[in-house]
Assembly symmetry: C2
Homo-oligomer: 300 residues x 2
């Protein structure tokens, strides 16, 4: 925290578990950054403004515009920002203002996007998509946004055409932590060959997933399979099942994977094994670019 | 608990979370029953004998034979009873005696069964299989034993030929309790049509499972899908994925589903929808029949 920073506006990515904020210049330069563990999931409606001021108060000196994306705009968030429906631009025409008590503070929340059929929703990813399109105007293809709930998004003519969410990240965490597999899966470590094997097994016979899961336990009991091998194999099995189901999205398309470090790289590696080359794009920079695009739209 | 009972022997089914015991006559009649929440998962090696005496002490009056199956014979149990390897009879020739300090108490633990490739294990189900075969000698076909870890078992010529374990029950519980789906899935309630839809969706396109999971959340957010509907649909999706993967087991075979009440009935219904008629057999009676078969073998 730097109390000499005087931003023109503040960018906020407010998810379920964490909040990240950036002090911004009007031209879109990051002057300072702050984080907080006061995610949406921990806050009542009247807790958002105090949590925001805790994190970025020293940056606020007079009237301040704040642009926020993510679960802060959900029904359980600060203010509900109703979903736009596909097909639609990633960045909507208007935002929703959150109720505030601090004089001069105006908080604008970016709506998420819904798809009516098959039913699906996103909040936060739309801002990354808008940021990606701000940097790559008229880009046409498939964006993959790996995470707790990985999104595959078809983008064309600067619109979100359709998308599909996979619970792969949450499945991995819950299988490794809350089931009998916890005795067989290491908390870290990796095995490239086991990941590849799991990936190709699941791509070839995706319907076998539920049976292959227990074999991770049996292999550790009978053959002392190392925990890091089981960990990489589980990741391969789950990502393989996801790629098999998402094939109508990515086959023969231009692909970009948006995300930080390891997980996004794992998806790029998995797609490469299917002869589907993908570009990796850093997630945080793209989020800031999306919030900056929203600020520019607001300021007309 | 009835302290006037004088059994000829005691039958014990000792799993990870619970222990059930029956005071038995030599001819296999149940004289009394007892249960305990002192499952294998809660006990150190020296805790098993006291836990047993807590539950069945009043039945013990002089030398007593106890026959036990389940996780009590695992590496973390009272005594390790090494797995028999498929193909093998469900009931082995010999049992493993647990160390005891009470004079006259002899505890015989039934070994589980392993399959080397694909790696798989069972402990406790082998006794149910033996009980089923004791009642249905020379039966040939597929046994389905639904539970936390559902087993599909190919039985022929009074042997276990092969088997496959699915984590379906544990997946259901962990998805409903530990993921974002917990907000959308009711703790009870049911919807037959939603179960059938989920089942046929998953049977038709089993590779789509990971994507369909998140749609349960989206349907509740966008279309206020009731929690009981989501619960039945999740069950249909998971059992459908299991039936799709287990098809090489059950297709065109004689099938019996072993288990108590609701879950086993759900499998019978699901199989019927695939034109695969299955007989339902009560699990507890079959477990006791298996333990009785072991007692008879021990007594020669």
């Amino acid at each position: 925290m730097n109390d000499t920073v005087t931003p023109d506006w503040i960018a906020v990515d407010w998810g379920t578990t964490h909040m990240r904020a950036w002090a911004m210049s009007a031209s879109g330069t990051v002057l300072a950054a702050a984080t907080s563990d006061q995610g949406m999931g921990k806050l009542q409606r009247d807790g958002f403004e105090p949590a925001l001021l805790d994190a970025v108060g020293p940056w606020i000196n007079g009237p301040t515009t704040i642009i926020a994306c993510g679960m802060v705009g959900s029904r359980q968030g600060w203010v509900e920002a109703p979903y736009a429906a596909t097909p639609c631009p990633a960045m909507p025409e208007t935002f929703v203002q959150a109720p505030t008590t601090t004089p001069g503070l105006s908080v604008h929340v970016i709506p998420g996007i819904k798809q009516v059929h098959p039913a699906d929703v996103m909040r936060g990813e739309e801002t990354q998509i808008a940021g990606f399109l701000a940097r790559n105007p008229n880009w046409d293809g498939i964006l993959c946004l790996p995470g707790t709930h990985t999104k595959w998004v078809h983008v064309s003519a600067n619109e979100v055409v359709s998308f599909q969410t996979f619970m792969t990240g949450e499945l991995f965490a819950t299988l490794a932590e809350h089931t009998v597999l916890r005795h067989s899966i290491a908390a870290d470590g990796w095995d490239d060959a086991a990941f590849s094997d799991g990936l190709s097994d699941a791509m070839g016979r995706p319907e076998k997933l539920a049976a292959r899961l227990f074999s991770l336990r049996a292999e550790s009991l009978l053959n002392a399979q190392p925990g890091a091998t089981a960990r990489a194999r589980l990741s391969g099995l789950l990502i393989g099942a996801e790629l098999a189901a998402a094939k109508p999205y990515w086959l023969g398309q231009q692909i970009a994977v948006i995300g930080a470090g390891g997980l996004a790289k794992t998806y790029v590696t998995a797609l490469a094994a299917q002869h589907a080359p993908a570009t990796q794009v850093q997630g945080e920079a793209i989020t800031i670019a999306g919030l900056t695009a929203a600020y520019r739209r607001l300021k007309g």
